[in-house]
């Protein structure tokens, strides 16, 4: 069977000081071509100063049906937020 070009995910840093953000995906034969294609597909108007590409099959994603056990435990831990702690009014900055 013929092999088709694998799928790559593209991450772009729009300017120094900001993180790379997911921009989309594309098909390419290898990493070098994925970078070149990403440049043409996602940065035609100065959208970036740096590109990462990673083959999509290498990404492990959480499953939305597990969102309850993954994310709900954080909801009742108010003591992780500064507003949980009472301070006297005299203290202006802390």
């Amino acid at each position: 069977m013929k092999k088709s070009w694998p799928l790559w995910e593209v991450f772009v840093r729009s300017k120094n000081g900001l993180e790379h953000r997911h921009f989309g995906s594309l098909h390419a034969a290898d990493a070098e071509m994925a970078l070149e294609n990403a440049r043409d597909v996602y940065t035609r108007r100065n959208e970036g100063v740096s590109i990462w590409v990673v083959e999509s099959k290498n990404i492990t994603a959480s499953n939305p049906s597990n969102n309850g056990e993954l994310f709900e435990p954080a909801q009742d831990k108010v003591y992780r937020h500064p507003t949980f702690y009472k301070l006297p009014d005299e203290i202006k900055h802390m």
Partner: protein, 318 residues
Amino acid sequence: MSEEQIKNLEAQFNARIERDEKIEPKDWMPEKYRKTHIRQMSQHAHSEIVGMLPEGNWISRAPSLRRKVALLAKVQDEAGHGLYLYSATETLGISREEMYEQLHSGKAKYSSIFNYPTLTWADMGAIGWLVDGAAIINQVPLCNTSYGPYARAMIRVCKEESFHQRQGFEIMMKLANGTSEQKDLAQDALNRWWWPSLMMLGPKDEESIHTEQSMKWKLKRKSNDDLRQQFIDQTVPQADLIGLTIPDPELKWNKERGSYDFGPINWDEFWQVVKGYGPCNKERIKARVGAWKEGEWVRDAAMAYADKQANKNLNKAV
């Protein structure tokens, strides 16, 4: 899953969309939602790709370097838009190859407007101004659609599209202000593209089979007739401004409605073109299939090279 459970999931799903929550690829979704999105998004992608053909016809004959770089950039954008949309569609579990196969076999449709020929340079103006103008009206509401990857792709597309319309209008304006021969070219292009552009916004509401469900899923925010009226109201004053005449003797400002009344659209023509009997349907698919076939050895060679390099690195590591 039992029918009861599925119904339950569907109710939750619809409530999420109503709350303006986005649906992401790995979320549960009704099968019909997935299928409808695959159909609409892939047709949208196909339209971008086939849409390159009528304009590609004029790149080498653009009248100046300024016009040439602009047209090249526009056609390149369309390739980009096709690619954003194809990869967004792939998140729904259909492969790129399958989508191409549907386009090439005629199973999938693309916008019928691209089945009209581009006879003169003025057509580049008319397409940018009218066809991209109508496309923008269609696409802006989709930036807010419920399926996350589609909405994100549309935001990028819309950002880039407004240059397309402006460059088209500029071409028309220049011709309309030129010699009488040039003005005739512009008028002739408007005459030929006006009605197909109105048809491009889709069949009349009472004949549009997908509207109601699509509205619920925010896959459609306004009805075809509303979009069409918006397009007409916005475009007529632009034509007036550059001294061109809309080819519709019944076009008239309706003070009460605050909109233009317009003449009947030839829907027989629309359905003919949709069914494959437009002036260029065969030519477009032939060009598209040809490009795909002729590129096959390049795709294979690139893949073979990549495999070879990967093996080399593997052997080095051992």
